[in-house]
């Protein structure tokens, strides 16, 4: 009896271990597929030179159509930064450095990170849904049977458009954020106009701050778009499958952005 119970327990443990193994192998397989897809997308970039219109139309839908949400969010985040920064800095009589605080927060962190999170919600989730639905409605299979490579023709332009759009959107977010901070700090709360800009000019470094912010946004754009296209391309071709893939895109992209931001910040600004 006791022997049976211990044999059962052993079997259960083995079953759990096998399950764990299956999850691990499944995860690795997904990772492998994602990298293969990335290679195929990158290989298709050169072909875009002869068809720039494919890229332009995607730049419009991924980038231009995201401008409004990024612009509005950037302005409000900058205004909040101006307000909070002023309350704190004025306690130490340092409100003249408000411009530095607003600009540094935006170009180093909030610009790339918040834009990437908005980008994940607004643009790349739509990419997953679009590609997933194209798969579900056999449009991708249809292209294959027309001897057209769907990765090169459909995925690559979207990937490149996401990669190019993201740093431009982040730059716009930061610029409008600074303007929002200026409006609140200088316009409403009476911070000196000259001090706001001159302090910012002297303390914000092109390489240390701006360039690092741009690198972050490039990385986020690359990763978010890659995740979105992979999720769409590997979605189960049903309405539920596409819906799950879209959710996964937003969740994975957001985690990737926040995790990578920590790593990049440590690498860029660590001593």
């Amino acid at each position: 009896m006791e022997h049976d119970a211990s044999a059962n327990l052993g079997l259960q443990v083995l079953e759990q271990l096998a399950r764990l193994g299956r999850i691990g192998i499944g995860g690795l397989e997904q990772l492998g597929r994602a990298h293969l897809l990335l290679l195929h997308m990158l290989a298709g970039i050169s072909a875009l030179a002869t068809r720039p219109r494919l890229l332009l139309s995607q730049l419009f839908s991924v980038g231009v159509l995201s401008v409004l949400i990024v612009a509005i969010s950037g302005t409000f985040v900058g205004m909040v930064l101006g307000l909070q920064g002023y309350y704190i800095l004025s306690q130490f009589g340092a409100e003249q450095t408000l411009g530095v605080m607003v600009a540094a927060s935006l170009v180093r962190e909030l610009g790339p990170v918040v834009t990437a999170l908005l980008f994940a919600g607004r643009a790349v989730s739509a990419l997953t849904a679009e590609i997933g639905l194209m798969k579900a409605t056999e449009q991708l299979s249809g292209l294959e049977m027309m001897a057209v490579n769907p990765v090169k023709r459909i995925l690559t332009p979207r990937f490149l458009a996401g990669f190019i759009s993201m740093p431009l959107l982040a730059a716009m977010f930061s610029a409008l954020g600074v303007m929002g901070g200026y409006f609140v700090g200088v316009g409403l709360l009476g911070v000196d106009d000259g001090a706001f800009w001159s302090q910012m000019q002297s303390k914000i470094d092109l390489n240390e701050d701006v360039l690092n912010g741009v690198i972050k946004s490039l990385v986020f754009g690359f990763v978010c778009t890659w995740i979105a296209l992979f999720q769409g391309y590997s979605a189960v071709p049903t309405s539920e499958g596409v819906s799950r893939a879209t959710t996964r895109t937003v969740v994975h992209s957001s985690f990737a952005v926040l995790g990578l931001d920590f790593i990049l910040t440590a690498l860029m600004f660590g001593e």
Binding site: E138, Q139, S141, G142, E144, M145, M146
Partner: protein, 268 residues
Amino acid sequence: MIDDKPLVTIRNLCFSRGERAIFDGVDIDIPRGKVTAIMGPSGTGKTTLLKLIGGQLQPASGTVEVDGKQVHRLGTRDLYRLRMRMGMLFQSGALLTDISVFENVAYPIREHTGLPESLIRKLVLLKLEAVGLRGARDLMPHELSGGMARRVALARAMALDPMMIMYDEPFTGQDPISMGVLVKLIRALNDASRLTSIVVSHDVREAAQIADYIYVISNGKVVEHGAPDAMMNSASEWTAQFMNGLADGPVPFHYPAPGLEQDLMGGA
């Protein structure tokens, strides 16, 4: 002499999805210039068979030869070259939803030829005329009925003048008029363009009406094949049940279950 050889030769084809064997040693010959119907109950892998012929899926074993080329041994470039000579009509039409009817039909021509715009226009209008939808050229796919979408997809499948067209369930979900139009079109296009057509369907009456030859597959095997008349009067009980749509026969009406009385009395 070469014209007598079948256009598609499938030998000992085996294909599985997970544990489930979809095909288990299937042999099929698709003769040139004819309409061949591949029939069978839902879920027997008829669409899978078309994907295997088109090289979109890889068989576990066996060979698929199209026009003398073993599809699954071809490199990507050669496979794409072969696909340019195959058209496929998907069940959903698979039209690109963000471009118009005209652009959908022009798509393969633009992709694979360097023809001038004026010639592309003429070609597209001729293809649309053949399916009776020249007047719908400016409509978007969402403005089309199901039958119209399939006809546009048919015009697109013919755009590069392929040697064969594969039809995946062309009659499913069509009203009687659309169904009649499609039946007529498939036969007329096959004869006028000297195509080879493979029609995958479980609509027995319509498929038998246009097919020169019929294969019936079930449970991963070819159950029977022959001319439509012979198949309709088949001595095989299974084929007779399928072709005549009988509710009960070798394929039971009831899904396997314990006895009704036992089930009713033993419930929780």
